[in-house]
Symmetry: C2
Subunit: 308 residues, 2 copies
Amino acid sequence: MASTQPAVAVIDDALRDDMLRERLLIATGVPGVYGLGAAFEDTLLRIDRLIGRFGADDHAELVRFPPILNRRHFAQSGYLASFPHLAGTVHSFEGTDRVHSELLRAVAQGQDWSAAFPATDVVLTPAACYPVYPLLAGRLPASGRLFDVMSYCFRHEPSERAERMQMFRMREFVRAADPETVMAWRESWLPKVSQIVEALQLDTRADVASDPFFGRGGVLLAESQRDQRLKIEVLAPVSSDECSTAIISLNYHQDHFGERFAIETAHGAVAHTSCVGFGLERMTLAVFRRHGLDRAQWTDAVREALDL
Amino acid sequence: MASTQPAVAVIDDALRDDMLRERLLIATGVPGVYGLGAAFEDTLLRIDRLIGRFGADDHAELVRFPPILNRRHFAQSGYLASFPHLAGTVHSFEGTDRVHSELLRAVAQGQDWSAAFPATDVVLTPAACYPVYPLLAGRLPASGRLFDVMSYCFRHEPSERAERMQMFRMREFVRAADPETVMAWRESWLPKVSQIVEALQLDTRADVASDPFFGRGGVLLAESQRDQRLKIEVLAPVSSDECSTAIISLNYHQDHFGERFAIETAHGAVAHTSCVGFGLERMTLAVFRRHGLDRAQWTDAVREALDL
């Protein structure tokens, strides 16, 4: 069994190394942080537009947030209870000329220079839907609300695997309403998600899944999430055929965000929420892995789906 | 004279408040952090494409980076010497279940919860061109290099003025070569920049400018930068008619980045660099201010320039 891990690591490197050689990915010296070449970026934007066409019937309200979030809303969201290890907070310099001199001395001597950087009022956005919930505080209209968001998201999980980036873009549709409406809406996305991965001719499978909760208590939270089928993921091979990676996820949060941000249905009950999230860099990697690095060689059907 | 400041502040509020009412901007509770409504985002992307058309002759290499930068490269760049007050560093949780419990207690009690968040290997990108210079270490080809980048950038300057956002997108073209080539390239952008602002029918003026250097020594650096005409800005009215805001800047860094990242010309001299940067949110704000919040009312020429 000892050979399993290195074997996967070798397969891993093959896709990433090929993409680095073709300048589809560009190394930055930090694991999980890449520049994206023209063909990668163009493909990603085309996948994003394809998703947008499938989401268009719903007439969601489009909003785009920068990849930072109000620190107070972040604390309120419960993210720190479940995923402190993935969070990223933003800190900034505070000090006089004297403190500045000490900072520059630390930099010159290769020492830790973070001493004079206290936390600011913002953190990095952990998932594209997080800025939406604070906006919904109060009573929803009878039909609830539906948002279309896309944002760079941060996850502190440095890794050599190309699909585990520290910052990546997530397109999301986010629904808030009464439980029945929200569950029916999530159900309505299952066939659309299938059509999207079929249009891209990806070999995927859907599975009940759980989030990577922190610490000892996290095991129970993950089990409960699976038992209630709150998270469904669509998985595709990215860096290895053996080990698939989630590229799309459909999440039902029940009353989690409704409680924390005081969101009420038109009848005054705690609103439920759900989101469907598309990992754009991961989908792009999955498409390049499945169809090869030369876009001219992709099938007519895929090229047509992407308007290539 | 005491009345000047409040008068400007009132003008300030008018554009922002109108845009908030029309949901072109969406407040997040943090000064300088806004969600962008559909018409704002769509206009911004169209301005970005317009810029891209003017940049197309140059056949720049397109690369897109996530809005984080290798911390080591950031220290090497000299940004901390000149602009420590604007920098944003990314910190992440480190700790056991016990430390996690203390974190959650601090959150629950409304206390500072940043104690267990040491600095990570990344910082927020301060300008879209910063990830490019480390890539250029070594010898350039005879014609030098030219990049087309676009990124969210972070500046820690919380402000109520809509044009001073903490995170915003910057499209940039970045040139590295010998001094003559680089200076000629920057010159070649002056007429193109004029054509871009004319296409958008903005009332602009160009001016020699300086960066907001930190501390007592910063005054001298700013003077020297002006004397050498290293920074030219294109300014337009955004939140007030009296006080214009830089929406585009053309910068000549001389050997600053070449020295710091060991970039050499084909002949082995220290390479010079230059960049032309477009503040996309600011350009979008300037267009809405100039032509009004209802895009259907914009002139045919502007609508045509933006493919509306």
